[in-house]
């Protein structure tokens, strides 16, 4: 079985072909970094324009990479939400058109489910598992019970972690994309302990019994520290220290939230091989990965972080979700609508302030 996957929900155009034997026959991602760099962040209309410009070239190239034709496909999967709707539409319509023309089943993929199921593509992971989903748009802890079956235990009440990274990086004078640049500069800090003492930063939600996140206060604290730095230009060593302290408090908060979730997960689900998975763009952050690895080690849980290429947005995770759903007969009709908001767990209690990030 081979499924074509199309991802266009943010600033990456992704096309992939993945088999049910987990072979990734093709996985092409075209990032629009240059298009957005001048604006310091993703501009929805530029993203929507760029997806349309690049998608068919990528489709052609993915087929070439896989040495396949449309006739050899068994299904077409496309992200239909959540995300920037102008971009989502481009990929969704392309997927529907190809499915119609080739009489193939169509799978309308929830982008969040694709992040959630990625560890089953990269590792032989059975349900249920605990998932920390951290991206530019979402920060959630979920139990993945099965395909299409999720329990959302928590969400951010304001900014997503990736958003907090990007906005803080911007305040620190770092170029877009902020997250990776912030991580890089933090690595230059010679004395992380001193950095933490020097910059007082809040650890929002630390110790609270509910599992939610909040990051806007942290971003504000970063702003205040940067504003109080003298001179026109920012001193590189100062910013490196601030970045280092920032990453450290983020790690503290995420560790605290995950530790509580892991305890609850082992109690409520008593899984044979308890596993924590981190997925989404922020899962590319090495400091965060190391922290979570250490935490799971002390708690006798396994830890899975998909390879970096499959953590950020990509077509392979969409194609794989297509495989998972197609195997279960969970296909969609060609009249599905794009969904800018599409929670994985529609029964989860609404959180004030969480908005589309829930």
């Amino acid at each position: 079985m081979k499924v074509l996957g199309i991802e266009t929900s943010c600033d990456e155009t992704g096309v992939a072909i993945v088999g049910d034997d987990k072979t990734i026959h093709a996985n092409l991602v075209l990032s629009q970094l240059k298009e957005h760099a001048a604006f310091g962040g993703v501009v929805p209309e530029i993203a929507a324009r760029a997806h349309l410009d690049h998608l068919d070239t990528l489709l052609r190239a993915a087929l070439d990479d896989a040495g396949a034709t449309f006739d050899e496909l068994d299904g077409v999967a496309a992200t239909c939400g959540p995300g920037l709707i102008g971009g989502v539409m481009v990929g969704m319509m392309a997927g529907k058109a190809i499915a119609a023309a080739k009489k193939l089943p169509f799978i309308a993929v929830n982008h969040l489910e694709a992040h959630a199921l990625t560890p089953r593509l990269t590792d032989n992971l059975a349900f249920p598992y605990l998932l920390l989903l951290v991206s530019g748009g979402h920060t959630q802890i979920l139990v993945v019970e099965g395909v299409g079956q999720y329990k959302r235990w928590s969400t951010t009440l304001d900014d997503a972690l990736g958003e907090c990274f990007d906005k803080s990086a911007k305040l620190m004078g770092l170029p877009y994309p902020g997250g990776p640049n912030l991580e890089k500069l933090a690595g230059e800090c010679p004395d992380p302990t001193a950095a933490l003492e020097r910059f007082d930063l809040p650890r929002p939600m630390l110790g609270r019994p509910e599992l939610d996140f909040s990051f806007s206060g942290l971003k504000t604290a970063v702003r205040q520290h940067v504003d109080s730095m003298p001179g026109d230009t920012l001193d590189r060593a100062d910013i490196a220290a601030l970045a280092c302290a920032f990453q450290s408090v983020v790690a503290d908060v995420v560790t605290d939230r995950c530790k509580r979730a892991m305890e609850r997960f082992t109690t409520e689900y008593a899984p044979n091989a308890p596993t924590l998975v981190v997925s989404g763009g922020v899962a590319a952050n090495t400091a965060l990965r190391n922290t979570l690895q250490g935490l799971t080690d002390t708690m006798n849980m396994s830890f899975i972080a998909p390879p970096l290429k499959l953590c950020s947005d990509n077509g392979a995770m969409i194609a794989w979700t297509g495989v998972e759903r197609l195997r279960l007969g969970m296909t969609d009709t060609l009249d599905v609508a794009a969904r800018p908001r599409w929670p994985l767990d529609p029964t989860a209690e609404a959180r004030i302030g969480a908005g589309v990030k829930a």
Partner: protein, 238 residues
Amino acid sequence: MKSAGLPDPAHNFILSIDTALGPCSVGLLDVASGEGVSRIVHEERAQAKILVPLIEEVLAEAGKTFEGIDAIVTTVGPGSFTGLRLSLSTARSLGLALNKPVIGITTLDAAAHQVLQGQEAKTACIVLETKRQDFYARAYHSDLSPMMEMCASSGSDIIEQLPDSIDILSGDATRRFVENCGDGRAMFGEILPMEALDPLLLGALAMREEIHYDALPVYLRGADVSSPKRVQRVISKA
């Protein structure tokens, strides 16, 4: 402009798609007979849901399959930003999957051909909705050659570009245009509002190579962006 040649126009079935004007319009034209099947659905907000099933419906009614399509014509704008994305992504992906040419026609050219069809020696100005203050516009001589470049301009700027009189004002923004152009109303012989493009006429424009465009969006304006308000501080070199 670009031509996308058809192997044998006399034996072709042309699929046409327009979602740039608001409705969802799909047609399948049998070039040999000049007849075909067409559908126009006035549900702008549901275009993304309706479009592909509508194509399937038109094909089924015509007794054809996707393999029976010889070329695809799509409007390339100017028009609704989302609508353009839908029709172009659909048309280009169909072209890719079926290995058939995709021909772009501007909404303004299509509207001009539609309104001047069967009219003798008349000139026309097409005004289309931008959903902003301005209008997409272009005026045409009676032989359908354009009098001006396509533009996204205010009512008064458009009128300045026009000759003293134009026989027909048409498009989906005629009412708003007339309200905006004050005394300018008098220069138009008649006003023929247009709700939708005729899908079969759009399909027939596959035979008019001189107005073919690549299947790329025609925006006539830059992306809607604003630069960051806060000036970013600069980090000193290491």
